[in-house]
Symmetry: C3
C-alpha cells in the first residue's frame, strides 16, 4: 500500500511546506530508521537532531522549525504525534485485507452456521460441528473452532488459535496467534495415591471487545463459566485459570497468571509477570506492579507491590529499610562496642 503526500496532508489537515506533493511513501518509520519510502514525524524536541539527519521521504512536523533536512517533503500540522497516528491507522486499514469467503483448503462442518459471503475462513482453518460464526469475522489459517462454539461479529482470530468446544466469544474480539480458549482447568483429587481428573465441563465467555495475546491460555470453568469482561485486553503468555471472572476494561500484561476462581473488578491492571492466587477478589481500579503476587483479597483501589503484594508505600518503606541494612549492621557493631566500653568504664 502506498500513500501520496497529497493524501497524507489531506488526511491530517496539514500544509506541505517543503518538497513535492507527488511523492509517494509505502512505509512508516522513526526519524533515524526511515528511508526515502517512509513517512516519519517529529513529535518531540529531543529528536530534533534525528530530524535534521533523517533520510525519510516525508516528515510530519510542527510549525516554527528553524532548520530542515534538505531532501524531505515536510507537512506542517498542529500535533504531529496525533497526525502520525492517523497515518498509521490509514496504513493499518489498507493492510488488513478482509476477503469474505471460505477457502477451499479450509474445513467447515456442514452443520456450522455462517454466511460464507460475509465471513472469511482461510486455508487450513477447521470449524467443527454446530459452531456459529458472526458476520464480518475472519478465521485465519490453522485456527480450530470446536463444536458448538459461538463467535460474534467482526472478530479476528489469528493463525493457529484454538477455541475449544462450546465457548462463547462476543463481537469485535481479537485473538492473537496460538492462544487457547477453553482448555481444561487444572483440577485433580488425590485418590489412592493417584491424581484423578476433576471433570471440567464449563465454558469460557469472552465478552465484546476483548483481546487475548499470542500463546495465552484461558481455561474453561469446572462448571459454569470463566469470564473475561468487556473491553479487557490480555497480552502474550498470560494464564487465566478456571472460573476466573474479570471485570470490564482490565489490562493484563505479558506472563501474568491468575489462578482459579479469582475475581477481578473493573479497570484492574496486572503488570508484567505478576500473579493473583486462587479464590481471591481484587477491587476496581487496583494496579498490581510487575512481578508482584496477590495472595489475599484487595478491597481498596490503589497500587500494590511486592510478594505478597501490599500498598505501594508500605512496600517501598520496607525496601528502603532493606537497602540500608548493611549500613545498619556496621553501625550496630560500633554501638555494641561503645556500650561495652561504657559498661567496662562503669564497673
Amino acid at each position: 500500500m502506498s500513500l501520496k503526500v497529497t493524501a497524507i496532508s489531506e488526511l491530517v489537515g496539514g500544509n506541505v511546506v517543503q518538497g513535492s506533493e507527488e511523492v509517494e511513501v509505502t512505509g512508516l518509520a522513526s526519524l533515524n530508521e526511515a528511508g526515502a519510502q517512509d513517512v516519519s514525524f517529529l513529535g518531540n524536541e529531543k529528536y530534533y537532531q534525528d530530524f535534521l539527519a533523517t533520510k525519510a521521504g516525508v516528515v510530519i512536523v510542527p510549525a516554527g522549525l528553524s532548520d530542515q533536512p534538505a531532501g524531505a517533503t515536510l507537512i506542517e500540522v498542529e500535533n504531529p504525534s496525533f497526525a502520525f497516528g492517523l497515518v498509521v491507522k490509514q496504513m493499518a486499514e489498507g493492510q488488513r485485507s478482509f476477503k469474505p469467503g471460505i477457502h477451499p483448503a479450509a474445513y467447515v462442518d456442514e452443520s456450522a452456521q455462517l454466511d460464507a459471503s460475509k465471513v472469511c475462513v482461510r486455508a487450513g482453518a477447521v470449524i467443527e460441528a454446530g459452531a456459529v460464526i458472526g458476520d464480518g469475522t475472519e478465521i485465519a489459517a490453522g485456527v480450530v473452532i470446536g463444536e458448538d462454539c459461538q463467535i460474534g461479529r467482526d472478530c479476528l482470530l489469528h493463525a493457529n488459535t484454538t477455541v475449544r468446544e462450546r465457548c462463547v466469544i462476543g463481537d469485535r474480539v481479537i485473538l492473537q496467534p496460538g492462544c487457547v480458549i477453553g482448555s481444561d482447568g487444572y483440577g485433580f483429587e488425590l485418590v489412592d495415591g493417584r491424581h484423578v481428573k476433576v471433570d471440567q465441563v464449563g465454558i469460557v465467555v469472552l465478552e465484546d471487545d476483548v483481546e487475548i495475546g499470542s500463546n495465552s491460555c484461558v481455561d474453561r470453568a469446572r462448571f459454569g463459566k470463566t469470564v473475561i469482561g468487556e473491553g479487557t485486553k490480555i497480552d502474550n503468555l498470560v494464564q487465566i485459570g478456571h472460573n476466573v471472572i474479570t471485570g470490564k476494561h482490565c489490562l493484563m500484561v505479558s506472563q501474568v497468571g491468575v489462578a482459579g476462581s479469582s475475581k477481578l473488578g473493573n479497570y484492574v491492571v496486572l503488570a508484567a509477570k505478576s500473579g493473583v492466587t486462587g479464590h481471591v477478589e481484587v477491587a476496581d481500579q487496583v494496579v498490581i506492579a510487575g512481578a508482584s503476587g496477590v495472595t489475599k483479597s484487595i478491597t481498596e483501589k490503589g497500587t500494590y507491590y511486592g510478594m505478597p503484594a501490599r500498598p505501594f508505600r508500605d512496600e517501598q518503606k520496607k525496601l528502603i529499610a532493606v537497602e540500608r541494612l548493611p549500613k545498619l549492621m556496621k553501625e550496630f557493631k560500633q554501638l555494641k562496642k561503645q556500650v561495652e566500653d561504657l559498661a567496662s568504664d562503669s564497673e
Copy 2:
C-alpha cells in the same frame, strides 16, 4: 445433552423432595449463576442465602433444610458435593464425543500404524510417517504427530498440539491445546564468538496418565530421554528443559519452569511460577511454594519457600524480620541517642 430429574436422582441415589420429576436440565452452575436449565447444589452452609435466592431449575440438597426456594426441584442426598460431582462426570461423558474414524480432511501418512475403526483423527490433523497410534486415542484438529512417534491407547491430544519426531507417549495421556512435546533442548557452545547449536537427538517420554497443559513445552533430551513420570499433571505455560526426569504423580502448576537435567522425585509439587535450576535433584514429596526458586538439591521432604527456596519456617522467620525492619531502624536511632547521652553523662 440433557438430564431428567429422574435420571439425576437415580444417579446420585437421592429423593425428590420438592418439584417435578419431569424437569430436564442441560447445564451445571453455582447457585447464584444458575437458571431454569441448570442443576446446582448446596454443598456448604455459607451458601444458604444463595440457595434461597437461586433460580436453578434443580438443586441437590442435604437433608434437614428449614426453608426452600419456591421454584426449584430439590433432590435430597447425604453428600451434595459428592453427588454433584457424579452429575458433572455424567455430563462430561455425554459431552465427549469419541467418534472413531479418520476425517477426510486429516492427513495420515500411509506408513503410520493405526486402526481407523478404533482411533479418531479429526480434520486438519497430520500424522507423519512411521507414527503409531493406540486404540481409543483421539487426535484433534490441527494436531501434528511427527515421524516415528508412538502414542498409546485412550489418549486425548487436543487441537493444535505438536509431538515432534520419535517421542513416546503412554496410555491415557491428555495433551491440552497448543502444547509442544519434543522441541529441541536449549544448548549451545560458544565457538569463535558464535553460539553453535548442540544437537538434540534424544526424545521425550510421557508415561501413562500424564496430562500436559495448554501451551506448555517439554524439550527432548540432548541424547537419551526427557521423562515425565506416570500420573504427573502439568498445568499451562510450563517449561520442562532437556533431560529432566520427573517422578510419578508430581504436580506442576502454571508458569513453572524446570531447567535441564534436573530430577524430581515422586509426589513433588511445584506451585505456580516457581522454578528449579538445572542439574539438581528434588526429593520425594517436596512442595515448592509459588514463585520460589530451587537453586540447589533438596534432599528432605517438606515445604520450601523463597528465592533461593529454603525450609518454610526459616524463610518465614526471615520475612517477619524484614517486616519489622523499619521499626528496628527507628528503635536503633533511639538507642544510639540513649548511648550517646550515657556516654556524655559518664565523661
Copy 3:
C-alpha cells in the same frame, strides 16, 4: 538410523580395544541408561562405576583404563566427550530428513515464490499470498506463513509455528514448534473509559542464525521493526515486546520477558524468568541472573541480580545482611537491655 563400530571408530579416529567391529548401534545414551543398541561414553572419572556396570553395546573410552565391563565393545580415543559429540552430530544429520517438495496436503498460494524442487513444505502447512521462501528451507506441518513474508535459505520452521504478514526472516533461522512471530504489540489508549487499540503496523525481523524456542512470542513493531539480532538464541515461552531491538549473539533463557522498545546490546544474557522493563537499554555483555528484573538502563557490562537488578556484589551484600537479620534482632534486644541496665546503674 544405525551406525557400525567401524564407522564410529573411523568418525572419531579411535581404536577398537575390546569387542567386535561388526556391532551396530541405533541410539545414544548415558552409561546407566544405555542398552545393547546404544553407544555411550566415559567422559569423566566420576562415572567410572556406571561404566563398569553399563549395558551399553559400545562405549567410547579414554586410554589407560584398568578394568572394563565384559559385554561392551570399547573404542579408545583421546577425548571421549568430544568424540561422542561427533557421533551425536552424525546421528542428528541422519535423523533430519530434508525431502524437497510441496506435500499435496499443504496449501501454497499461487503468488508465493519458492522453488518446489529445493524447498520442503509438509502436509497441513499454509503459505499465503506473496510470501517468499528461500532454498533449503523446511516448512513443517501446520505452519502458517502470512502474506508477503520473506523467509531466508536453509531455515527450519517446526510444526504449528506462525509467522504473521510481512515479517522478514534471515538464513539458517530455526523456529521451534508453536512460536509466534509478528503478533500485535500490546498498545492501547484509554478513550472515554475504553482501551482503544493502537494500530501495530510494523514488522519483525529475525536476522541470520536466530533460533526461537517453542511457544515463544515476538511482537511486531507499532511501526518500523522489532529486531532479533544475528545469532541470538531464544528459549521456550519467552516474550519479546514491540519495537524491541536485540544485539547479536544474545541468549534469552526460558520464560524471559522483554518489554516494548527496549534495546539489548551484543552478547547479552538474560537467565530464566528474568525480565527487562520497557524503554531501557542494556549494554553489551551484560548478564542478568535468573528471575531478576531490569528496571532502568544498564550501561556497564557485568552480572546483575535482583529485583530491581543491581550489580551482583551489591545485591549479594544485601542478601547476606537480610539473612543475618533475625540474629541482629536478637542481639539488638540484648543490647537494649544492656543499655537500660547501664542507664539505671548510672542514675
